[in-house]
């Protein structure tokens, strides 16, 4: 009896045809990201079979989406709660720079950094990520600033922290552990891919199998109902904002190692990419629907697209426009799907 909607008992009107087509469209929407992904893979495989469809390139794609994947994990929590975090790229950048700031740098790097043992630097960097999250959480849940605006302010504050710490310079060193995770591989698979997969898996586990995860979905699904069911809505919202910041910070640490340098404005593209990954995958912008599997599909769609465009002869300036158009398309589908869902409940 687990097929919602197939029975006819409490329906007032025998409107079988429109209901069926509604359900069909609902399903179509669910598999739309898959279809997009398959289409892209087939398209690029045909367009440049020699370079796109290789083991090496698969590793490339996976590596390219790893940092985004870690950020997108936190962002999935945030968006499922019907909030948004625009500061992810900026927080990633700032935390990466904090990590470098507390690591010994070459004499040529002229910043007033404070060299500390590697693990201390890592703890301090993660602490800074938590602080970013706490400030955001406080602004959103206690003061009542919409997360859209609050995180816009945090975006600027993150950029400010970056600027203050590196003062226009570039730092290159990070603690060894992070360096290994960011640049080395375990056999054929880069460590950063493994870490991203673990973070995504952990996110999925929390969202699907824990009480907190259920609260995230319920608060996103209907905040008022969660409140009147005795769920501490503020605590849940605060938690997802902190999770978002910590994921971003962790991604920033690995990203700095992976990119080989810590400098201002290094993570600008990650904001758009991580939001796009979550939304393209089909997680509802209104909260409550979606999850990490959706985000993974979204990551692959973006990864394949970004990577594939490098393999075909295309104006590199056009790539920027294409990314924007893809995101717009995903947003349209996302909003449209939400409308179908709510309509299917009204009859």
């Amino acid at each position: 009896m687990s097929t919602p909607g197939t029975d006819t008992t409490p329906q007032r009107k025998p409107t079988a045809t429109p209901r069926t087509s509604l359900r069909l469209r609902d399903h179509l929407k669910k598999i739309a990201p898959f279809i997009t992904l398959l289409f892209l893979i087939v398209f690029f495989s045909v367009a440049s079979p020699a370079s796109f469809l290789t083991w090496n390139n698969l590793t490339n794609i996976l590596t390219q989406i790893s940092v985004t994947g870690i950020i997108a994990t936190g962002l999935t929590f945030v968006i499922l709660c019907a909030e948004i975090d625009l500061s992810v790229g900026s927080v990633a950048n700032a935390v990466g720079i904090v990590l470098a700031f507390f690591t010994a740098q070459d004499a040529s790097v002229n910043i007033a950094n404070v060299p500390l043992p590697g693990w201390v630097a890592i703890v301090l960097a993660l602490t800074s990520a938590v602080i970013f999250g706490l400030v955001t959480a406080f602004g959103v849940t206690r003061i009542g600033i919409p997360s859209f605006i609050m995180t816009l302010a945090m975006l600027q504050i993150g950029a400010g922290v970056c600027a203050m710490l590196v003062r226009g310079q570039i730092a290159y060193n990070v603690p060894d552990v992070i360096k290994v995770l960011g640049t080395k591989a375990l056999g054929p698979i880069p460590w950063i891919v493994i870490v991203a997969a673990l973070v995504l898996a952990a996110g999925h586990f929390v969202l699907t199998y824990t009480r907190f995860g259920r609260y995230v979905y319920m608060v996103g699904g209907n905040r008022e109902a969660a409140e009147y069911s005795g769920v501490n809505v503020r605590a849940v919202v605060a938690s997802v904002m902190i999770i978002g910041a910590v994921c971003s910070g962790f991604a920033g640490m690995l990203g700095v190692a992976h990119l080989g340098s810590a400098q201002q404005d290094e993570f600008v593209d990650y904001l758009l990419d991580s939001i796009a990954a979550v939304v393209v995958g089909g997680t509802s912008l209104f909260g409550g629907q979606g999850g990490i599997p959706n985000t993974i599909i979204g990551l692959f769609v973006l990864g394949v697209l970004n990577n594939g465009l490098d393999h075909v002869k295309i104006d590199s300036f056009l790539k920027v426009l294409i990314r924007g158009l893809i995101l717009l398309t995903a947003l349209i589908i996302n909003i449209y799907a939400q409308r179908i869902r709510s309509r299917s409940l009204e009859e």
Binding site: M1, P4, R211, G213, R214, M218, G221, V231
Partner: protein, 506 residues
């Protein structure tokens, strides 16, 4: 029958409606109603919720356009296609939920939608302020046209909205429940204005549950019951008792005999007081409310829409923070900073709107388990246990269809209500607060809910039922408090009560 006891300047019929019928789905909201509105009168309109008075007024105001029957304005047959048409014809309505824009100035509210413009299409501010000021003074409303609307007391906001309707040229003004949020001096001021408007030849329809107010200001009173007009009389010649009898159909209709039936309230004083509220106040919503509920007792809280009970029950569930007063649970003062704290303290709450208590896109079992997840698991969910519990509650409350996987949005209204109730029944709460537990339900589902509530009472739960429907309160309560304009005004305990007595007290 048309009396002109007070309306000196009555000028004959302005609006004549005949044979008006209106259906919503299969429900007859109005059946063959004839209604005449004389000019220069205040016409009171009374009846229970769902009696048809609001529907009729919405037809007159052009909100409902799909109805049977004819409407004549000044003797000419009209048929409004929209509220805009009705306004253009000089009919304006002031709703109970004011439609003022709180962040604009008083003058902008008066001119809302038709701000005067000067050259270049810019708004002529000085002109607007002056005009609005003159207009308000002309009506005897003393308010600064530059003041921000939201900063004014509700009573003044209402007068400004009324002045806007007048300013737009309305000759027939319909006021829906205008006194429910007003203090006595504010009511005096409103009534003074209404009499002045009447004497100027305007026609006023006054819809209200407050019969004393209706009798005080009206020239004529019309009573509705079950979509029919049952009586019209001159206010000077009738009294409250007579109106109540007609509102609830005393002796006329065998079907409605039950309404006047005497119900013996048997309060209990042998059990522990579980919930005790002392001198609780919250803003304008309610003041100095004290009450207590014993274990194994259903306390009914009856009052009209807007009497403050919605805010009161939310406060008791930690959703609003009271300005003053204390809440005690089993003798110990509790401070609830949020609803989770209230739940942990053993308080359960089912709000009046299904939309604000259910997750329509989620399966039934997740809706049932949401309030008990903390009891089921420390960290990891136990979905099979959740399904088991949901299935068990489904059987107990007769929720159909019996599928725990089904999305809640696809259940019928009555079953949704039961699901909302079910989430609190796995582990019995100490206090169960129900707001409008049977609103919009069919008879069978209502009986089920009454049965469930009585079962819980017999298990020792302290239950508070807040409702604007007398039947709901009478069907469930062992003791009844009447709330009026934010205060508890009457208690019925250990006595014989009936619907008319309840209405008379409110």
């Amino acid at each position: 029958m048309q009396a002109r006891a007070k309306g000196m300047s009555a000028t004959g019929p302005v609006l004549e409606l005949s044979g008006i019928s209106k259906h919503f789905g299969g429900v007859n909201a109005l059946a063959d109603v004839d209604f005449v509105l004389d000019g220069g009168q205040v016409h009171g309109l009374v009846g229970e919720n769902g009696a048809g008075k609001s529907t009729l007024m919405k037809i007159i105001a052009g909100v409902h356009t799909d109805f049977e029957g004819t409407m004549r304005l000044d003797g000419v047959e009209v048929r409004f296609r929209s509220a805009h048409d009705a306004r253009a014809a000089g009919i304006g309505m002031v709703y109970q939920e004011l439609s003022v824009v709180r962040d604009l100035s008083v003058a902008e509210n008066v001119f809302l939608g038709r701000q005067p413009t000067g050259t270049l299409g810019l708004i002529a501010w000085r002109h607007m302020m002056r005009e609005a000021g003159d207009h308000l003074r002309g009506l005897g409303i003393d308010v600064d046209p530059q003041a921000r609307m939201g900063a004014l007391p509700v009573g003044l906001q209402q007068l400004v909205e009324l002045s806007r309707v007048l300013f737009s040229g309305a000759r027939v003004i319909i006021l829906d429940e205008p006194t429910s949020a007003l203090s006595p001096p504010e009511i005096d001021r409103l009534f003074g204005l209404l009499r002045k408007l009447r004497d100027d030849g305007r026609t006023i329809v006054f819809i209200s549950h407050f019969l004393d107010d209706v009798l005080r200001v009206s020239d004529t009173v019309t009573i509705f019951r079950n979509g029919r007009k049952v009586a019209t009389g001159a206010a000077a010649n009738i009294e409250k008792r007579w109106i109540i009898e007609r509102m609830i159909g005393a002796g006329n209709d065998a079907l409605e005999a039950g309404y006047t039936q005497d119900i013996r309230l048997e309060g209990r004083d042998d059990t522990q007081i579980v919930l005790e509220v002392d001198q609780l106040s919250f803003g304008r919503a309610y003041r100095g409310v004290s009450l207590n509920v014993r274990a194994g007792e259903v306390l009914g809280l009856y009052g009209f829409m807007g009497c403050g009970q919605l805010e009161l029950v939310r406060t008791l569930f930690g959703g609003l923070k009271p300005d003053h007063g204390t809440i005690r649970l089993e003798g110990n003062p509790v401070r609830m900073s949020n609803t989770a704290a209230a739940r942990r303290a053993g308080i359960a709450f089912v709000p009046e709107s299904r939309r604000s208590m259910l997750f329509l896109l989620e399966p039934m079992y997740k809706n049932v388990s949401i309030s008990i997840l903390e009891r089921l698991s420390r960290f990891l969910l136990k979905p099979s246990r959740e399904r088991e519990i949901a299935a068990e509650q489904g059987r107990r409350l007769r929720i159909v269809p019996a599928s725990v996987e089904r999305r809640v949005g696809t259940f019928s209204g009555g079953n949704q209500q039961k699901i909302a109730l079910a989430k609190w029944l796995n582990f019995l709460p100490k206090v169960l607060i129900l707001s409008e537990p049977t609103r919009g339900m069919d008879v069978g589902a209502k009986a089920d809910v009454v049965r469930i509530v009585q079962g819980l009472r017999d298990e020792g739960v302290a239950i508070l039922v807040a409702s604007t429907e007398p039947e709901t309160v009478l069907a469930m309560a062992d003791r009844v408090l009447v709330m009026k304009k934010g205060e508890i005004v009457h208690e019925f305990a250990d006595e014989v009560i009936s619907k008319d007595r309840l209405l008379a007290a409110a």
